[in-house]
Symmetry: C2
Subunit: 249 residues, 2 copies
Amino acid sequence: MTEPSRIAACLIVIGNEILSGRTRDANVAFFATALNECGIRLGEVRVISDVEDAIVETVNAVRSRYDYVFTTGGIGPTHDDITAASIARAFGVRLSLNEEARERLAAHCRSRGVELNEARLRMAHVPDGAILIDNPISVAPGFQIGNVFVMAGIPSVARAMFETVRARLEGGSVIRSRNVGCRLFEGEIARGLGEIQDAWPDLEIGSYPSWDDDGPVLNLVLRGSDEASLDRAAAEIASLVRSKGGEPT
Amino acid sequence: MTEPSRIAACLIVIGNEILSGRTRDANVAFFATALNECGIRLGEVRVISDVEDAIVETVNAVRSRYDYVFTTGGIGPTHDDITAASIARAFGVRLSLNEEARERLAAHCRSRGVELNEARLRMAHVPDGAILIDNPISVAPGFQIGNVFVMAGIPSVARAMFETVRARLEGGSVIRSRNVGCRLFEGEIARGLGEIQDAWPDLEIGSYPSWDDDGPVLNLVLRGSDEASLDRAAAEIASLVRSKGGEPT
């Protein structure tokens, strides 16, 4: 399979709660879809634990390989929120109190009648040189340093933060998709499907089988940036399905 | 946060359908929970694309660092099923027709009245030296080579395959958890929680905030292998919550 060449991103999910099975991830599908809308391909996801060495090593391994890196998780006020300090170490810079972030948190605490204590002040510390990412939901900001965007793990906050940085992202051509469904087994159409893939090297054709109570369910998904190519290749796949006795949907 | 030291695994999800946002992953939470039941910590997850270089590089990067590596996806009959060939390349061995796998597929095809064509025969090819992993659902086997277990991506098949290898896995002590819920903001208990974490270095204490219509929801999760330590630390956290005006649940 060829892969459309374009701007690519890596998502780093920082979260013991995903790795322990306690929480089911809700950010991967959002980032995959939202990035695609920007013309950015999600090339890889890494789910890592709340351990400083793991964060430093992973960030440094991927930030030179991808155009953009997004992290989620670990930017709150508790002892397990070590993302900002780890990112500072990854970039070899200091973690400092950001005056703008402190003011936002102070105003938010005043309005809620709670104390801006030492724990909450942790959330106003960002690596030197970082740009704040607005948090329209719970105020404590994320930040961008270089090509790394550091965001909250709570899905609603991660989404709101992404919307505030969307305009900063430079994407390539947007990837569209077509789906041809049928009730055949993969093995029936595999050879013909491979020939169609070979004939359309600029498209990415995936075959996703499953079952329901009535038997096999097969989704043949085409992805690419050229609508005309997608339509023509999808028509070829529909013909292939019909030639094997299936009904393309 | 300290991390319980024990047998660790990495899960590699091979799947453009997850990275494109088309399909929401359903395997991570299963593996996290099932491995934990075996006394194996899921240390990392990587979601990568159906590209041979990505598979080879990722498998070789993680197989020396984790006790066990599990892969899901890419072992079917279509052109985008390149996992077996990629794993063979990662281990520097040939991909060969496995006679046992071929016989199983042939019997299955006969029973269904379909042809064992070239595409289906792809599923009987495994790296030299690999041991088959039974597939009680759709027959086409997975395989184990070294510490790498190669499984199907369809969740029901991945789960069935995992059950057939569960007895092969050597785990450490099983990690248990306790949860203390309350309706406080993280910032209220962050300092005290950090002190409790410091006092219990063998436990991993995570703080997971969210919201509902009634305000903040905070789950404080303790994980560790010693039940008595878990109970005592959970009681300390409940006291902390009460001291801040909350009601631990």
